[in-house]
Amino acid sequence: MIRRAVLLVLGLVWLGPTYLLVVNAFRPANSYDASRAWAPSGDIAIFQNFALAIERADLGGSLASTLLYSVVSPALAVLIGALAGYTIVVLRLRGGFWWFMLIFGGTIFPTQMLLVPLFVTYSDAGLYDSRPGMILVYTAVSVPLAAFVLRNFFTGVAFSIFEAARMDGASTLRIFVRIYLPLAGSALAAVFILEFTFIWNDLLFGLALTQTSGVRPVMTQLAGLMTDVYAGTPVPVGLAAGLVVSLPTVALFLATQRLFARGLSLGSV
């Protein structure tokens, strides 16, 4: 009984801010008052609030760009990582383990160690504040995890599949595209979702490598709404923006929960 009571009390404390978030995101933008923040307003102004946020922080172009980054980069990374995993495991690349360690080793660098050179090189190469530049960097940071998961996955696939396809005269690339990629569907999806979420929520690369609102990732742009012009942003507008912008990752995760669990139980087909 004590266990339930502790959980309930703690749970109620945790629900407090969540409740405030929802109630005040639905409140009309100009009617927020800290002394009455707990009382629901009965209005459903969240869409107007979100529209206001889009206008104020110029979120439209930013949202489109973020969607582009978080779809294209993980898709590329997953393909590149899968091809590397396939080459190392199935095609038995000489020194494959070391190539794998080289690729996977990319995960250990803190982002802070990358920013200055990336910023300087991007500025020189015309990639600073550009969508291709952002896609490139997001793809690169996503490759190591993709290579790791897909390498593990392909290790569990029977080699006889490959041999049979070779007997039938298929090229190695064709075997990869027609057999191994479809087999790895759920692992590819799981990695894609993880990386989609990472990129969708990224703040730091956006801060360091972009400037204009159409190129800036949405979290960076939203942070600007908080830090640069917060004085003028009504609380309900900020809350609506925070809530709506968080939805895609939640929706994606819920929609693919089963796929996700399957994809991460690595190595099993």
Partner: protein, 299 residues
């Protein structure tokens, strides 16, 4: 590329395989090239370059001038950096106690309850919010005439004065991160074997002693992973501080990661900023190493 075909017989399950692996086409070393090139150009090269820059004086305009250890010497005497190190330590210690420790508590209390998932739902909801969303939720609560002050009947400048602005942000962080730690612990608790627990129950163990002497040792490997992940992540705390206080006011809530960003992109001290990044990396590496070594010893 000078890679060659591997002709040795393969490993896994290949008893009946021909001694020579079949030729798989000439292109195959090229297949790892995209991954290797991306990682080399955008992760390894910048990493090494930052290490070099940390020994230079560089403002991004004039070419970097070699400065030996001067940046690191300045680091040690910079009061802002000392504050930043102190705050980072608060983040690390606080993360162990609150999101991780409290997460463990919630997991242990709820994992074998009927409908335990419902008890855990309130803790999972905040995890959906990202750093920016988190700041949206908590700024009106923690602001001067905000909800927390009204609720508590006090007048505290939660986000202004040190060190309790760091502590306030730590609580916000706990609010967001507790759920995912709980979830990891629950997965671990549900997958430990039932027999030793049943046996201990029959022997009369219950409550704290059951947990301390039976459950805790059984879940040690998982705890090691959760703590290790939280340790490294908390050393690199950036997003929440940047969106809530930008390290201020007067740089008093900066962490190492925020200091690095500010020195580099606000003050244009690229060499000095790189030195902070190197310091952060060394500290994170050292902490991971000591932690892993401790784990291996106790295991």
């Amino acid at each position: 590329m000078t890679l060659q075909l591997e002709r040795a017989p393969g490993r896994a399950g290949g008893a009946r395989r021909p001694r020579r692996a079949p030729l798989h086409g000439r292109l195959r070393p090229g297949y790892v090239a995209p991954a290797v090139l991306l990682v080399a150009a955008l992760l390894y090269a910048p990493f090494l370059w930052t290490v070099y820059l940390s020994f230079t004086s560089y403002d991004g305009l004039a070419p970097p001038a070699f400065a030996g250890l001067r940046n690191f010497g300045e680091l040690l005497e910079d009061p802002a950096l000392l504050t930043s190190i102190r705050n980072t330590l608060i983040w690390v210690a606080g993360t162990m106690v609150l999101p991780v420790g409290l997460g463990l508590l919630v997991a242990v209390l709820s994992y074998d309850l009927p409908r335990g998932a419902w008890y855990r739902l309130p803790f999972m909801l905040p995890y959906a919010l990202s750093g920016a969303g988190l700041a949206m939720v908590w700024s009106p609560i923690l602001s001067h005439d905000g909800i927390a002050n009204r609720l508590l009947g006090v007048d505290t400048a939660f986000l202004q004065e040190e060190p309790h602005n760091t502590l306030a942000m730590l609580l916000v962080w706990t609010w967001q991160q507790l759920g995912v730690n709980t979830l990891l612990f629950v997965v671990g608790l549900q997958s430990i074997p039932k027999e030793p627990i049943e046996a201990a129950r029959l022997d009369g163990a219950s409550g704290w002693s059951l947990f301390r002497h039976v459950i805790w040792p059984l879940m040690a490997p998982l705890t090691a992973v959760v703590v290790g992940l939280a340790l490294v992540a908390s050393l690199k705390t950036f997003d929440i501080v940047w969106v809530m206080t930008q390290g201020g006011p007067g740089r008093n809530s900066e962490t190492l990661a925020v200091t690095m960003y500010r020195e580099t992109f606000v003050a244009s001290q690229y060499g000095y900023g790189s030195a902070v990044a190197v310091l952060l990396t060394v500290v994170a590496g050292l902490a991971s190493y000591l932690y892993l070594r401790g784990q291996v010893r106790t295991a």
